[in-house]
Symmetry: C4
Subunit: 282 residues, 4 copies
C-alpha cells in the first residue's frame, strides 16, 4: 500500500473508487455521497411544477452535470476492475447503470423516469464503504433477525392475504358500490388498508352490518400486529442471548479493500491476496 | 407403494388426490393450486364492471370449466375414501363443497356469491400437502403461541370492547348527530376505529370536549396495543427457550400419507397401518 | 353449606346473589349476565332514530322491565349484606346504583344518559363471579404487568404529551387556519392523532414545510410505539421467568364465597370464617 | 444546612430556586410548576379566536404577569449562581430565557410565537427537581434502552426513508396529479403517511396498480413496525436481566443539591463539597 507511486494507474484508480482506506478514496466517497443526495433532491425539485417552471434551465443543467459525473464514474468502475462483466452484472453494477440512464432516456422520451428513484439505492454502497461500523453491526443484526424469522413472517403475511380476500369479498357483497366498494379487488384493497390499521377513509362502510364486520377486521388487525412483532422480538432476544453465551463479539469486518479481479470484499486486515480468487490485493 | 400397478384404481386415485409422495400426486396438487388461484382471480375480475362488460363470455366459460373441474375433484374425493360421510362433514370437505357451489347457485339467482371467497381457504390444504416444511414448522410455532396466549388475548379484547362501549356512548352524548355520531352503535364503531388506530376519518369529533376525549381514546389505543404484543412476544421467547432446553427439534411430520378409511393424516414415515383405525396404508 | 334449608332467608339470598357455588347462585349470575347484555343492547337500539321511531313502546317497556329488575337486585344486595353502607360505597355498589338510574332520570329530563354506558362495567363482576378461571389468571398477569410498568408508561405518555404540545404549536404557526389548524388546542389534537398513527385526515397539512414536519411526527410516532411495547414485553418475559423459577403456579382463587359482613371475597376453599372480619361464612 | 439564618441571601435564594430539599425550595418548585402549566394553557386559549375575542384583556394581563414572574425568576437564577454564563448557556438556561421572551417579542411584532411552546420543556426540570423518584428511575431505563438501540433504530429509519423515496417516486409516476400525487416530495410524504400506518386519506391512490402498490407499502409498514419494537423489547429484556445478575439496584440519585459555582447536580447525600469544582455546598 506504501508504493502507490509505482503502481499502475488502474490499480490506483481502483483504490480510490472501490476502497476507502486512503485519503483520496475517502474523499471520493464523500463527494459521491453528496452527488447522490444532490441528484435525488434534483429529481424531487424537478417534479414540483411551480419550481420547475421557474428554474427549468438550472435544474436541467445540474441534472446533466450529475448524469455525466455518474457516467464517468461508471466507466471508471468498469475500466479499473479486471473482470468488467462481473461488475456490470452485480447488484451494485446494475444500480450504478440505472442511476446514469434517466437523463439519457428523457432525451428520447421526455419526463421523469422511475429509474431516477433507484439512485437512492446507491446510498447503500456508499454507507458500506464509509465504514460506518456501528451502523453496519446494527444492520447485520437487523438482517439476521429478519432472515431468521422469514418463514414465520411469510406464513403471517399469507394469513393476512387470505383474510383480506375473504373479508374483502364479504364487504363487497354487503356494502356494494354505493359505499365505494366497487369491485372485489377494491374491497380487498380496502380490507388491507383496514387490517394494517392505515385507514385512509377514502372508502368506508356505511351499512350497520358493514361497520360491524369492519370493526371485527380492525380488532383482528390490531390483535395480529402482535404476531410479527412477537416473532422479531423473540428473534432479537435469542440473538443477543447467543452473543452473551459466546464471549467474542461478532466481528464486523471494516476493511474496505476490494479485489480488482473478482470484486470480493470483506478481506482480513492483514490479507495480501484475495481469499476468493488468489489475486494480489493492492 | 411399489406395486401400484396391481392396486385397485380407488387406491391409486386416493394416492393421487390425497397424498403428495408420488410424482402424479405432486402434479395433481400443483394443478389444483393453479386452478384455485385462477378461480379466485376469475371471481375478482368478474366483479370489476368494466372488465366483466368486455369479457363476460370468456369469464363465464372459464368459471364453468373451473366449477366442473372442482365438481369432478369433489366427487373423486368422495368416491376414493372408504367413509365418504366423514370426509363430507370434515372442515376441508365443507370448504371443497362450498367452492364448487357458487356457479350452480348463480344459475338460480345470478350474481357473485360470498361462497366464492371461501375458495381461498382451499389454499390452506394444498400448502399443507405440498409439504412446505419450513412454513409448516413456522405456522405451528405461530399457532402454538396464539393458543397459549388465547386467554390473555380474550381478556384484552373484552377490555377493548367494554372501553369502546363506554367511550362510544360518551362520544354520542357529547358530539351528537351533527358530527356524524348518529347513534350509539355508530359511536362504538367509531371508537373501535380510533382505539385500533385505524382512523378512517369518515366520522371525526368537532367539539373541543369531543376532541379531548378522542385524544384520550387514541393515547389509550396507542398504549394498549403494547399489551397483545407483549403477550405474544413473551410467549415466543418462552417457546424458543423451551426448544433450547430440550435439544431435540420439534419434529414437523412431513409425511403426506392419508388413511383411506378414516382420513387421518400425519402418519409416521415407516407406518404400514393407520394409527387411528388400523386400516392398511397404501 | 349443606344445611341451606335451616338457614335464614337473608343468608340464602346472600348466597344466591353474591356467590356462584350453588346451582341457584350460578343461575342467578347467568340471568344477570343476560339482563346486563340485553340492557346494553336496548340502550344502543334506542339511540338509532329509525329503530326507535318504529319500536319506541317496545323499547320503553323493555327498558323499564330491566330497570325494575336491576332495582330489585340492588335492594336485595343491600338487604342481604350486614354492612349495607360498605357495599353502597364500594366500586361495584356505585356501578350497580348507576346502572339502575338512567331510566328514572330520563323520567325527569328525557333522553338517553351517559350512565347507561356504565352498565357495561357490571359485566366485570359477573365474569369474576362466574369463575372463568383461565381468564381470571390471564387478567391477573395482565394487571400485574401493567402495574409493574406503570411508572415507565407514565413517563412515556408524559413525553408524548410534551412532544404533542411543542409540535402542535409549531404546526399551528406553520399551517395556520387555512389547513384546519384553527387553534393550538386543535393543533395539539391533530398532533396526537398523528403521533398515535390514527390519522383521521379531517385535518391535514398542505404546505411543504407542514408536510415535512408531519412526516417527522409520524416517523417519531411510528418509532416510539416501540417503547411501551418493549416495556410491557420485557415485563411479561420477566413475570413468566419468575414463574418458572418458583415451581408453584400462582394460584388463582376461584372460591366465589363472599363475606356477608364485610364483603371480602377470595376466601380459601376450606375457610369457615372470614379472614378479614371473622364473621362465619355460610 | 441548619444555619440558614446566618447564610448569605444569595446562598439562601440559590437553595430555594435550585434545590428542593427545604420546605421553601419545595414550595417554590410547586408554584413554578403551576405557573408553567398556566402559561401553556394561556397560550393555547389565546390561539382560540372566539375565546381571545371575548377575554382578550384578561389573557393579555395574565400573560404579562407570568412573563414578569418568569423574568424575575430568570434574573434570580443568574444572580444566585457564581458563574452566570455557565447557567445562561446551559440547556435549561436557554429554555428559561426562551420561555420569557414570547411576550416581549409580541410587543414588537404581535401574534403568538413558537417560543411559547418551548415552555413545555421547562416541565422537564421541575419534574426532575421534584424528586419524582420512581419516574426518574423509569425514565433512566427508557433513555438507556433508547441509547443502546440508537444505532439499530437509525439503520431502521434510514431504510424507511429509502423505501419512501423509491415507492414515493413510483406512486408519483403511476398515479399522477389527478389523484393528488402532485410532485415527488408530496408522494414521498404520502408514502411516509402510509408506511407508518397513519393514513390521513387526504391523498389516496385511485388506479388499480396504484392501489396494488399502496397495499404492498401498507403490508410492508405493518410488518416492519415489528423491527423497532423488537429492538427495544430485546434491549429491555437485556437491561432487566443485567439488573437481576448484579443484585444492587441501579441507584437513582434523588439529592437535589446543586452547586452554586458550576451548577453540577447529582451530589451524594453526605457530600459537603462539589465533586466537580470543589466549591462548598450549602
Amino acid at each position: 500500500m506504501s508504493q502507490t507511486s509505482k503502481k499502475h494507474w488502474k490499480i490506483r484508480l481502483h483504490e480510490i473508487i472501490y476502497e476507502a482506506d486512503t485519503p483520496k478514496g475517502k474523499l471520493f466517497d464523500v463527494i459521491l455521497l453528496i452527488a447522490i443526495i444532490a441528484s435525488i433532491v434534483l429529481v424531487m425539485l424537478e417534479s414540483i411544477k411551480s419550481f420547475d417552471a421557474k428554474y427549468h434551465n438550472l435544474l436541467n443543467i445540474s441534472e446533466w452535470i450529475i448524469t455525466i459525473l455518474f457516467s464517468i464514474e461508471y466507466i471508471a468502475r468498469i475500466v479499473t476492475v479486471k473482470k468488467p462483466l462481473k461488475y456490470v452484472t452485480s447488484f451494485y453494477g446494475i444500480i450504478d447503470l440505472l442511476s446514469t440512464t434517466p437523463k439519457y432516456i428523457s432525451l428520447l422520451f421526455g419526463g421523469i423516469h422511475a429509474l431516477a428513484a433507484l439512485r437512492a439505492l446507491r446510498l447503500l454502497r456508499v454507507f458500506r464503504i464509509l465504514k460506518l461500523a456501528r451502523f453496519l453491526g446494527a444492520s447485520q443484526v437487523l438482517t439476521n433477525s429478519l432472515k431468521a424469522s422469514r418463514a414465520k413472517i411469510s406464513v403471517f403475511l399469507f394469513a393476512v392475504l387470505i383474510l383480506s380476500i375473504i373479508f374483502g369479498t364479504l364487504m363487497y357483497l354487503i356494502e356494494g358500490e354505493v359505499s365505494g366498494f366497487t369491485s372485489i379487488p377494491v374491497s380487498v384493497y380496502w380490507c388491507i388498508v383496514t387490517l394494517t390499521t392505515v385507514g385512509f377513509g377514502d372508502i368506508a362502510p356505511i351499512t350497520p352490518i358493514g361497520q360491524l364486520i369492519a370493526a371485527i377486521i380492525m380488532i383482528l388487525g390490531y390483535g395480529i400486529i402482535a404476531v410479527p412483532t412477537g416473532i422479531v422480538s423473540a428473534e432479537y432476544v435469542n440473538q443477543s442471548k447467543d452473543k452473551n453465551a459466546t464471549p467474542q463479539k461478532p466481528k464486523v469486518n471494516l476493511n474496505s479493500q476490494s479485489c480488482q479481479n473478482c470484486l470480493a470484499s470483506n478481506h482480513k486486515d492483514e490479507a495480501e491476496f484475495c481469499y476468493n480468487c488468489g489475486n494480489k490485493l493492492h
